[in-house]
Symmetry: D4
Subunit: 254 residues, 8 copies
């Protein structure tokens, strides 16, 4: 339950749209629920505006299904990240409405399409074609969290005129995610073109001294542009999540 | 010249407050200016909303003074980062209005106090007392860029009740910077408490396997909270800059 | 033969419950026994209170069986760690009473259930669901060595209220093992809550810059809490063993 | 205030040894106290049985004195670690009863000698003469925390008969700290001799590929003895603290 | 052709046992021979006393067979290292007298058993059972090069009495190879017991922070015993080769 | 279209060999073309004298075919690097004239044999037989780019007379590529023999501390010969490309 | 003596300009000369077209002077690299005609200005002002070796329009050296603009995760542009030397 | 006391040259002696043929003097390694017969010149002039241990003809030490020329990616020559010690 949903619930209580008893039951959802191998954080939506996201890596399909069974009772949208196709198939047999995006290894269960609540547009740029899966994970995450999302793929620095042809699109974005492997130079160039915040995502694309993305990561951390912050290698999910947090920056309540 | 300043200039032309010739001269400032050892980027304010910042490390005081002499003709505020006290002293003999913050190794020349233009408050949290210099660099940068800034120092995870005592202050912030050395665990805990964007800054405080801040950096990149992005070790300036970019996230123009 | 077992044996000699000849044979067990590819350390129980544990990695099933055949003649309980299912199956065909725990990759042969001899309770906490296999290896080891063991899984720092809900359980433990991957921040938070000794176990859960658990390990070594010591990545066995050593801390003999 | 001290205080209230008002004032000490650059954790004694320890590295002498001024009002013993001689001198001008141990870089303020409360003896072994400063930091810490401490220096593995000459002393210890640089092999040998818990402390003694203690640390983490856990490089303080925690392992309250 | 073989050839010329023409042909063997993908070094026996050894890794079986076909015409013994079973099988179909040692992944073709020419005995010690394959590669290499070889397996430092039981055998060896994984502490202990040269071989046995043998390697390089030099991880072949070079140390010719 | 091809096109317009309309169409090729997952850089031939090369790693065969379909309309020669056999097979079903070199994992589509335009000869030297695949990738690339290429394989430093036997061939080359794994010492020796530029290519051949080619790379970067520059590990393609750039060094236009 | 100088000498013998005896003495210069602590390579000019360059690091001023005394008898130009000011001063007292460039830490002794023999222009680009010392070392080296040299400083990627303003200068160069610290992205952008060979020089400018230039180096090795090769960190000398080798690429002799 | 000295002592007892009482006193020297901060290993000469060597790093001059005072009573020769000039001066005021070699940072106290007992000659080769201090440490150590020693400096691979000019000297040596920094290629070339054992010593000479000698070390460990083993970076002492052990390889006693 997000704060926005709680406000609506209370408003409906106020105008009689829902009985006190019903509202109470919905509100009495415990802060977390233990199912032995997991303790599901039901208050995460309230605290953070989006429910707990299930990290698929290292979990069994039984564990994922067990967690989902508790969460679907309470949440409108649930994401499972880094879930391999075979395991996704098993989960989808139980939750037939779930959607799986194999390229991004992301599974999504949602009761309705997310409302657009973000301030502006999140633009996702990839340096190469091979970086697209990570970029897609970021795009799907940001969309699921209520943001308008645009993408621009394969505009790496070795042919930099490709990037400049989209200058207006880049200037118009509120938040920019730049996904790049190898030397990871693209965020510096994009960061130098705009004043808006740039989230840099290193990918493990490369070989030899790319060290599974470490080189791209280090390049991004040492960028000579300053409106840049970095997430973990191949962490498209985190980039999309952070972009959404930025795109929902709140005015002070008072 | 920031976009905002250009708008004002053109408005003054429109209402006769400034002659066309004067306005033209101001606008004809070249995109950059070469002084041999440097090519000063005069259009950076226009592109990014803030003038070029001088990175002091590895420059001589002659070079810094040379760059400043060109910039003070055109900019309202100029920052020099990572400038040691002795060199700052030399620079301040030439620019007597400059202010030096020795703890943060930051020098600032400004014609007037920066206007508050950010959406909300930038909160800067440090894990320990030893992390304060980096936190101060972030605070001074964010203030110089037009943001309301609050600070909260020495609330590390070994006595986590100290952090929870300031829960409301943390919830009220629009953007949060968390500065921590050693194991760098504080951003994860703060990130788990709120939905707003968190910028994590690892510091080089520690010894042995802290590896000059690498351990804190790695911890932050692998945070189990997702509303977190990371900047370089001890990069308080970059964190303040990025926080300001986030705190100025723009609605789409159309 | 543990020191406790030797005391009993001698007591039985004293009260005539066993003949001198029989006792002598039992005591004449050599300090170690060579079987070509291995030299089995029969005195380890005497020195350390627990027999040699067989490290399965890199051994053939023939070698493991060969070692076990010698050990079962003398020991009440034997552990084989890091043994894969296929190899465990072969071993269990020979030793039908052996029990295999596939999640923890641990095989156990025991003649009777271990007696509880530890001072208090060993509590094993895991940060995430994916860390459970390592936590289970620790739990099984500590139980086999005569300790009362409790477990608490999936209470990572991103939802820290889950942890605080179990504050009493944590305060009541004599020794605590904390198992965590990714940024490895949980031991710092637990260590800050209590005065009892905490053993931190980094796991290889994570991706990108988690470097197979190195990031969690470094975080734990640099913890700002001081009642913490660390074992190797994924070394649930070592953590359980060390916890048992701590939970059996002896008063001075005189 | 430690739990033991609180019990005594309450007992004195019960038998009229102290007035209710006086007791209340002592108990009303806040959980922490803010002095701008620091938030002093006054409840740490209650939670952990020992007051907050001041980490000297990166702090100014003004900051250390400021923290001490608040703490001396409430604590019987206070430690400052990693404090250089010049800074220690400044601190001792303000707190004339403070004692400084230059080899261990440890400063101690105490109102009375600590009572021996630990279960048995903590034995501190160093591999070489050059490792003594770290071993001394461990010894001083463990003594300050109420433990009987013995030391055994320069018994490295290149002349292993020196170690075996002290076998009985080693067997008699309840907890053992082993301090070693270079290849860090000594904890494995000691760990193989006994069943009691061993805390291994790598030191930065060595050159070339000793990598400032990293080699010793890695060796200790990979020890083939299992009753071993490791602390950070040169972290004599942490080893002494952990040893004390182990040496105070509590029986369950019920 | 080794120098010793050349001496014999010339002696046979001198005493008429072989015709000048025959001898000339044998001696006219070119310094090396090109077969496109390889340039076989026929003079290596002359320079180094042992023919070129074929490094199997990364070569096709066609390439190995091609090289062997040239070498068998001229050499009495040929080794192929790091050759996998499937490839060895293909090679043995062509060279039916070849012998393959699967544990050591070593293939050997020899026309007669090597003569014992070394000064004393090469003793090969392994710390654990899992280190035996590397130890066997060393043993087979040293035997092929004309050395008396003894082995002593599974005498690691966690039960150091096992090692001391073989003290005389260790003192009697002329050269000692010590093979160990994990923390790699055994060479230090052995090196401290004797004055003879010790070759330390780190193995990749271990997990987590053993880093595929890097930890053992670093430990050995930093040994506090000085009669130790180190070879690459898992390089049993190199250790056997170096031991043979040491065991054939020549008196000066004049 | 390379600059040379453009010159010819314009000459043909001048002498009536092609109509203005046809020439215009050829010249109106856009600077790049978007096909969703890729933005093909059609101007790369003009800027760099050789068309964009497709990096196969991480792309699907559908993506590669999609890019090729656009490129074959405009380019005379196209390379796809790091493409595995199975994927190459799929591509060749669509482009039947394509040639695949499995050892070098390189696929080439060309309309006619490349003209020799380089200044002199590019010589490619490999240290061992196992380094040949990388050397072949370099040779194929340099040939495709219009260079005379010679090769010299298996002349590593352990039998350095093999190298000196080819001294004249080495002295005659205009550019030299040296491919080596393990310790990567060969470029230093070759670089010391000549004054012409040497491109060093580390390979991942080796084991243990060769760290997948990192050791060879570091050795080459620290060469005591100064006419050496280095490319990424196993980057035969880059070495061939750079050698071609060197072998086409242009006199100044004026 | 360079090959060119030898040709002239022989021509002068042919036309009687020098006596046979004098020529013989000049030619009889030994291949190298031993002075105890050094073996000076007098044939290096012949082999490589430029005399041995003295690497100043780790040598005493006595050693440098001793080597120079032998070399000045035979060479027209001598460079000493990485020589600190104090040591340079001592050397210049002995060789008063020597010139010292403190920024580049380069000392040069030359009998006459070097003749321009290179094919085209070597252009040296630096990303920042702080990178200039390394760029100057490259420029001085390339000039000393007979090349026309141009420089372009402070055109880093954060204000990429500065770079494009010099597009013609970049296109006109025959060889380009790009010097950059921090993320090292500039060589990729420059390499993408031209077809000529680019030598990338990482510098140690940066902090935190720049790891003394390692990040820039890794970025350059993983460049998505292919006409790039890399030299060691801060190795301006090597870059200038390699650029000269490229700029002198020879046509085949036949 | 070395075994040889003990034999002589007993012979003198036998022939009446020394009284039984005197001999007994000499023999009753304890195995080791404790002086608080050190436990001096008096039996090391007996076990290893050379007394304990004092590692100066990290010791105070008081500690060194204290150890020496005990050792000079019993040993004929004592070495202190890695002792800085100032500390050496203090020690020499107490032991006026001590000799200090500042280049090698080695201090030696000896009662008479060591007897030559080694089999052949130890040859010490350095790649560059800057590597001489480490080479000297090796030479002094080997001489002190009773070996004939020759040296050959500055024969690195960039001018490899310098090395080949000394081919006979190299072939005549019984043991060879090769000292090299930077890429560390020299041991491979030397190892390929001879069959005798080669000890490779990496030095910290170099910059940038030489990583304080790590690059040279890795190169040596991966040498394609097999008669090579390696010691720690800058460990000239260890190389000399190991060379002496090799040069004293003993025939079997029976």
């Amino acid at each position: 339950m997000t704060p926005r949903e709680m406000t609506r619930l209370l408003a409906r209580v106020a105008d009689g749209g829902i009985s006190v008893a019903e509202a109470q039951e919905k509100l009495l959802c415990p802060a977390f629920e233990s199912i032995g191998f997991a303790r599901i954080d039901h208050h995460r939506s309230l605290r953070k505006g989006f429910p707990e996201v299930i990290f698929g890596l290292g979990k069994t399909s039984e564990q994922i299904i067990g967690i989902l069974e508790k969460m679907v009772l309470r949440e409108n949208i649930i994401l499972v990240t880094r879930i391999e196709p075979a395991m996704a198939k098993t989960v989808m047999e139980r939750f037939t409405s779930a959607q799986y995006h194999p390229e991004a290894r992301l599974l999504c269960i949602r009761k309705k399409a997310p409302e657009i609540t973000g301030i502006g547009t999140v633009l996702i740029i990839s340096a190469g074609t091979s970086d697209i899966p990570v970029a897609q994970e970021a795009a799907l995450t940001a969309r699921a969290m209520g943001n308008r999302v645009e993408t621009l793929f394969d505009v790496g620095v070795a042919g930099i005129h490709r990037l400049f042809a989209y200058q207006q699109m880049i200037l118009d974005a509120s938040v920019i995610i730049v996904v790049a492997g190898m030397e990871g130079a693209l965020p510096s160039v994009v960061g130098g073109m705009v004043g808006s915040p740039v989230i840099a995502v290193p990918t493990s694309i490369g070989y030899g001294t790319s060290f599974g993305g470490m080189t791209a990561l280090l390049g991004m951390l040492n960028s000579c542009a300053s409106n840049i912050a970095v997430v973990n290698i191949d962490n498209g999910f985190g980039a999309g999540y952070m972009a959404s947090a930025i795109n929902h920056v709140a005015r002070p309540k008072t």
